[in-house]
Amino acid sequence: MTPLLALLLAVDAPLVVEAPVSNSPVIVVQAFVPAPGALDGDQAAAWFALAEALSDGTEEFSRDRFLGYAGQTGIAFEARATPEFMTVRLAVPSGGMDLAGHLTESVLRRAALRERALAEGIDRLRRRRADPWSQALHVYDLDFRRVNRERVLLLYRQAFYSSKVVVAVSGAFQAGEATVELAARLATVGRQQPFRPGYANAPRRTAGTGGEAGVVELSAGRVTPEQPARILAVFALGVGKTGAMHRALRNNRGWSYRQEALLWPTVGGWMPRFLAARRELPAEPGEIVKQAILADIETWDAETLARALGTARASLAGRFALSPIWLDAGGPDQGSVADAAAWAGFWAMAGRPGLSRTDVASLLQEVSLEDLKTAALGLIEESVARSIPGQAR
């Protein structure tokens, strides 16, 4: 089928979004693939296994070929899952849009997903060790006993052939070039799959962090760009060493070494998460954290607002090492060429294509101190607490 015919017949083409970065030495493609509905325990395990098995390569491109492109670009091929969506990222040297298109098509349409790769992927997930903080952030209690290749392939077809998929491309290229290259390649005729949106209730980690420190978490309802005060409140509450959590839990009480707020990526936008680590968690640690933060909010003044805006502007510009902004499960946004694709793709998936970093920064600029305090109180009061114990040494 010619590309033009494919486009004309396409009923299920993913959305392609472009984020040109002039002078970039690489082209980065990042696909955002929502899970096909709310995943139950077995499906969630298969979903995470699928992400691991994708790293094995495709019918045309071996794992070693992907490693070779990583050597040329400094950006590794990665597939990462959250319970709600998966991201697949690859990079090629600048000028290689045709190659980028071919690789992307191959990964999204003809992933190898061999039995052996799946077994190895599950083995990696089972044996994965992480520090207590990462355990709290990323690790789910997954049962792989009923995961098999058929189940993984079914999930792959349901999710990757869906029109809900967004493919974001960043790097140095002409406007429209990526869309022309990718839309035709990824057009699929008559393969529409049902999609049931919903928040995946993958089992959250409860068994323990695997380390000495436990972690307590407060999670609040989703925030959207229409709620700039709630977004800015996340920065005032838990970003940097001037955030309320650092002041209330570390400086004032010596209660915890690490405490942070995150804007966690979900299919519909960001979900605020507030985490604090401590040895020997007391009873109801969530309530202790809540009360300490609520008391701190009462002390906020114009300087609090200025510092929150400072960290928010820097984070939105991709220039803050402790940015709370996550666009996928790979780590905080650092403003790289790859992050340019992640930003564009994430917001397109969340139903806000074209939303820019400066759009969000401008909205935050208008927030008053009173609105900030009200939003912060609301976030903490509505939040749900959970904790994962550490293990005494």
Partner: protein, 363 residues
């Protein structure tokens, strides 16, 4: 580029890409214009005067916690309102403060570093409280890092684990830390490196003015480290400076093993001195059954991953500043791009030796 070369470049009306200068008090300033991201990183590295011993184990780490706040204790407020951030780390090589932010805020970042160098203030109670915070920090350590710390027993001459242990941390006093602070910030061992989209001559002048005022003198009583390592665990290989081909070969093979075996983690912190690289985790035991072909595949994949890693390292403003500050005192001609060039010259013999080291460690 020396001060004379900088002056010559200015005479010709050219903006130099980098400049290095040694100040009368012994401190070194290095500035490079790099990248187009509008960001900059100021790295202050205080090279350790001597390996830490068991009496004061972790005291430099405690000093780092206090120094990072600045003498005025307002460093974070100053920086974060302007979108900048200070982080700090203590290793066997020394203490490193990294301040990152918009390149236009480089003068603010230098002011923050000046505050770090403006003296030590803490009461005994505050030291006791901070020691508790350090213990909270240690509780967040992953098992891979714990095993890597134990493996430093292979390099006993570099002293004890700098993060500290409860026993020695609980002995720390304000006066004791005061002496460690003065020793740490002896200008003879200070390097300030700036990378980013900065004006090189202007930044050099600002840095010189700030660093030139530092006049601490180290006079610590010796705290000798143990002569021999006590115990090591995991699969560890002792390496020399990261800029040695043999070290990069060890890293390449290690990356390859990690790529091909589930449940394996590798730990290494870039260093210009002797160090260890560790592979740990449940999967390591499978190495004993590896065939020659397994090792060959690991070597092949590992070379690619090492190249990707080094490319990412040299392309990051933050990593460049940190690498330069740490390596300059030991390897004055060091350039971040050298690492990838050196890796490109790795020979089959280098990889054979690296593989043999990992094989021996796995037995």
């Amino acid at each position: 580029v020396t001060a004379a070369a900088l002056a010559f470049a200015l005479l010709l009306g050219q903006e130099p890409a980098q400049a290095k200068e040694r100040l009368p008090n012994g401190a070194t300033v290095f500035v490079e214009r790099f990248g187009r991201t509008g960001t900059a990183t100021v790295a202050l590295h205080a090279r350790a005067s001597a390996p830490e011993g068991p009496m004061r184990q972790g005291w430099r780490h405690l000093v780092e916690h206090f120094a990072a706040r600045g003498a005025t204790r307002s460093v974070d407020a100053l920086l974060e309102a302007r979108g900048c951030l200070l982080t700090a780390e203590t290793t066997r090589d020394g203490m490193t403060f990294l301040v990152s932010g918009p390149a236009s805020e480089t003068p603010t970042m230098l002011r923050a570093v000046a505050d770090v160098l403006a003296g030590f203030q803490a009461t005994d109670d505050e030291v006791t409280n901070e020691a508790q915070i350090v213990l909270e920090e240690l509780a967040l350590t992953s098992s891979a890092v714990r095993e890597a710390r134990a493996a430093w027993a292979l390099v006993p001459e570099r002293g004890v684990e700098p993060a500290g242990v409860q026993e020695s941390l609980s002995r720390a006093t304000a006066n004791g830390l005061q002496a460690v602070y003065a020793d740490t910030f002896d200008p003879e061992r200070l390097v300030l490196a700036v990378s980013g989209e900065v004006d090189v001559p202007g930044t050099v002048e600002l840095a010189k003015a700030m660093l030139g005022r530092v006049a601490f003198e180290g006079a610590l009583e010796p705290d000798p480290p143990p002569l021999e390592g006590l115990a090591s665990s995991g699969t560890a290989v002792r390496v020399a400076s990261m800029s040695q081909r043999q070290t990069l070969a060890v890293l390449a093979v290690g990356f390859g093993v990690r790529e091909r075996l589930a449940g394996v983690e590798m730990v290494y912190t870039p260093s210009p001195g002797p160090a260890v690289v560790t592979l740990s985790g449940e999967g390591v035991s499978a190495l004993r059954g590896w065939s020659s072909n397994d090792w060959a595949l690991a070597r092949q994949a590992g070379r690619q991953i090492l190249t990707a890693y080094l490319r990412a390292l040299e392309g990051s403003v933050r990593e460049r500043a940190s690498l330069r500050a740490t390596f300059l005192p030991v390897e004055p001609a060091f350039e971040p791009e050298d690492l990838r060039r050196i890796a490109g010259r790795m020979t089959t013999e280098d990889l054979d030796a690296a593989e043999a080291s990992w094989r021996a460690g796995a037995q």
